[in-house]
Symmetry: C3
Subunit: 429 residues, 3 copies
């Protein structure tokens, strides 16, 4: 097996390719099939929440399954076939088998007039309905005749499934990473997020961590609510977190801050880079993915949203163009490395205390300072020592020091480690 961490792009893309064809929705076998594939990489609990379970203001819906779905002209020409592309069928469509006039059919057809070659993605989760999504170009060519609708779906009591990985660390304080698992054949949104978090969980499971890490692979909204309802007390342990989606394209990164706006994770995201680029920082807004639930006022968790291109801003979003051509192994790899960097910052941040706080300690006799004086330029390494010592008053974390100094977190963490080895720093109580 290749080393996923060294060249993670290939393994990540392979996982995306396997997940892409599955017809996922907020319930049903698609989610279970997806979780089964993820479990080939990482030990994961699969939770099943029965239909009808009350979760806060919501009720877990019935399970939805699709055998087939076709839209044909009365003369027998196939207009849309679920088997060809699962986006053709509005998700959660109820079963239908009837002939309709074109006028009766029209309200059930969804197209994108501005993107006539793309099939849109549409859902009708919480109102019983049915429909087909078409290329607008095909829609315009439809003859005014009768149509045969055959949707062989089933809505029945069952359960909502979600996956949960928990990696215990040295403390019970935890980091929560979450990716929605409810979208059908959309590669970036969110096969990419599922793949990157799975491989990240695998990587973290192979090492010893200070924090505990939790990974959620749950259907959007209702899945996050199910987890929150089952963990109302536990969420107090969540110190940091990210919702991850649309992480396989070459844009961004874009980070939407937590509702708090000044959480540690919000500052971590200022410190990391992806392909050398800082994340564009966007203030919290209550629309998006499951940060909507995690950051609702009753929880207000320190969780932001990480994406490459932000949802709704790229033309492929929620269309058939969000396919396997849109995500690239190098982008999946750089997103994965950024996630590792985020974890590294969280793991290696600490609050140093200068044990020799009156004046500078003599760095030269410890080999930490240039022996020859008078040079115009000072190295980042020296500046790292000086900044850490100067701000090591017990009120600044390494992340704070990196931010104020303008040096990288890596440089500051390295300087602090050397100073600690030299006996000049202790960890603040």
């Amino acid at each position: 097996m290749p080393d996923d961490t060294a060249d993670p792009g290939r393994a990540l893309l392979a996982l995306v390719v396997r997940l892409f064809p599955i017809c996922r929705s907020i319930t049903g076998e698609g989610v279970r099939q997806t979780l089964a594939i993820l479990r080939e990489h990482i030990d994961m609990a699969v939770r099943e929440v029965p239909t009808g379970t009350q979760v806060f203001d919501w009720t877990v819906p019935q399970e939805w399954s699709v055998r087939c779905a076709t839209l044909r002209t009365a003369s027998g020409r196939t207009v849309a076939d679920f088997a060809a592309c699962n986006l053709h069928l509005v998700s959660y469509s109820e079963p239908v088998s009837r002939r309709l006039s074109f006028e009766e059919l029209k309200p059930h057809l969804h197209t994108l007039p501005d993107q006539p070659d793309l099939i849109p993605y549409r859902t009708s989760y919480y109102r019983r309905d049915w429909g087909f999504c078409l290329r607008h170009r095909d829609y315009l060519a439809l003859p005014d005749e009768d149509y045969d609708v055959f949707i062989d779906t089933e809505l029945r009591d069952g359960a909502l499934a979600y996956g949960e990985v928990f990696l215990p660390g040295e403390t019970e304080r935890e980091v929560l990473f979450s990716a929605h698992i409810c979208h059908p054949s959309l590669a970036n949104d969110n096969c990419s997020g599922l793949a990157v978090l799975t491989m990240l969980a695998k990587a973290l499971s192979q090492r010893r961590n200070r924090f505990s890490y939790r990974f959620l692979f749950a259907p959007g909204t209702i899945g996050a609510l199910c987890w929150l309802a089952a963990n109302e007390e536990r969420v107090r342990c969540v110190d940091h977190g990210l919702v991850v989606s649309c992480i396989g394209d070459g844009g961004g990164p874009v980070y939407k801050r937590s509702r708090r706006g000044d959480a540690t994770i919000d500052r971590v995201m200022e410190a990391v880079r992806c392909d050398g680029r800082r994340a564009a920082m966007v203030d919290f807004s209550p629309y998006g993915y499951d940060e909507r639930q995690f950051c609702s006022p009753g929880f207000n968790l320190p969780i932001g949203l990480l994406q490459r291109s932000a949802f709704g801003t790229f033309p492929q979003y929620h269309t058939s163009a969000d396919n396997l051509d849109f995500v690239r192994p190098e982008h999946l790899a750089s997103s994965f490395r950024m996630m590792l960097d985020i974890v590294d910052v969280l793991e290696s941040d600490w609050v140093p205390l200068n044990l020799s706080p009156k004046g500078e300690p003599q760095l030269g006799r410890r080999g930490l300072y240039s022996a020859t004086g008078g040079h115009t330029v000072t190295s980042d390494v020296t500046m790292g020592y000086l900044w850490v010592l100067n701000l090591a008053d017990g009120e600044h974390s390494l992340l704070d020091i990196a931010r104020r100094s303008g040096l990288s977190f890596r440089d500051i963490a390295h300087a602090a480690a050397r100073l600690k080895e030299s006996g000049l720093l202790a960890e603040a109580a």
Copy 2:
């Protein structure tokens, strides 16, 4: 009688036209005549403060009245006549009847060399003096001969008059609106303010209000001090307020913040529009109109200054060009509507509490969310619901939510009302 609210421009201009010719000053009949006209529209108390009354560091001055005032050459040509334009006479000029040489006269003449066709407005309230204000063009043509000055004015013990309208609301917490009434024939400064506040008082008197509203029509500085001295305890009830002047031209609006800088009224003024334009926000400074008194350190009331064009910045300011051509009914109307909007924000602001704060409540089953999912764009209506629910933690008013969301106060207030009807919100205690 026409509906002033629907087409307020005509009625406002008519009132300005009636007020314009009157020779007002800080005391005297001009103020009483002005109050009498305003009282045709709204029930108003007229307060009389006797000459000699001590108000803080000041003393109420004598009443000033003018019968006539002319400046003539010895050869009998009239150079300036108060009857033609009351700006010709320096306000509060003492009585004079004598012949002077041109050299003796010169220190008593005031002109605007940079605006040679305009008569300036000048006063000498607190030092006994007299003078005439001339077009600089006319001044340059004056012959070097003797002049006859005849100023038939009177300064005698009497009283300072000001008008006060109080509209009790559901609470004793009050909003104070104030316009200075001491300027003679200057249309924008401040016949416009007097007219707009009178019509606003009339409109508010015809409806039920949460706040109590107080309107002051008082001479600048000394009038405001008289009211403050008579209401030293009462001012604790003032939660919000505006000084209003120069509100009939087409500029601005310009809002000068209260001394506090972060009072609710300061944030309200960020939220309202006039003819679709935001107000230019200017920090407090201790020069201007009666906000100088209301915002003195001993009171520090949450009161700002609202204008269209800011005093001192438009060429007509304090000249004969601030006439009936300068104010327009459509500007008076848009200023009036802005005042109504300000009142609406104050009246309809409240602090919501999300009764379902853990996760989002299910808006779809309440008809508050699109039934079909997957669209790229979310409506402002939906965003309003989401923002209100997310920030309804008892620490954000609707105004706060509007500010943070970037949505209009109207949209946020509408969303909050719908959510309250749906049982999802309560008013925070």
Copy 3:
């Protein structure tokens, strides 16, 4: 003797000219000779700290003295001679007398390839070493032959000397000014600082001051640490301070804030001007001069760094081009006047309390307000009165009021003085 304050440039330059040739280092006779010259102008204590004394994490080093130092080719041509320019010898070079091959010599030669005509300044204080500093142009012309190194220096137990001037004021709260005294023939860095602080001490010694003033003329780092170690309790009295260096050239001024960032001295430096220019404000960083020690976390004193051109940014920095041509009497004079202005702000700042805080007091009857009203423009003098009265609530110093009003500190201080004379202000308790 000329009046140094009226035309300080001449006297300052004369002092720089006398100090320039001396070979200073962190210890040795050069420092004592320098202090002796400064003592011709101001009564100064000379402190001697014995070699081996422990100061915090450091030990006072041995005294270094130089008799002569030459580098010659084996054929007898002189390449570098300490007598010609003391920068040729690496400061603190140990004694050497031997013949070396060119290859053996090379690691001991220091040049500036980008500035081939300049001799660099180099030190090796805390590691026993020796070396010569050469023009790169001369270095390139060196023949590949043997060289005779003769460095007749001595390192022996003795003492570190520094100078200290203390001028008691009305209170024991003190202002600390400090200039490093350890650099050899570098005119701007820091003969300029030594000269300006000496003349400032002289000027302040001739007047009565509210604050006590302390002036330190100490070797960089170890000298400041010696003073701090001897005054660990006393530093609690330091309310304000500046490290002063590179103050004789025509750039800047540049002010580096104290570690606190919002100390009074940081705001004073926003208020003063040098040759009409505001100081460029730079945030604290832990590299530079002795602010590194004063602002270490165990002291965190309210002390910033004042320079004209910032160290490391001008091409003459730490080279033989930092000579007597680089500093100019007019720049020394403007820096000196800026220092006097800084002292004036510190001395004359106070917190006023408006004794008539309800409304404006009547300025007109006190001769503090224009008798004629109606003008468009208000004078800075009037605005000064209004701002001081408005903010004289006991929570704003004159410096605060100057900052918020945008008026100069001088105008605000003048207005406050007039208002206090008029009985309208008291000093807040």
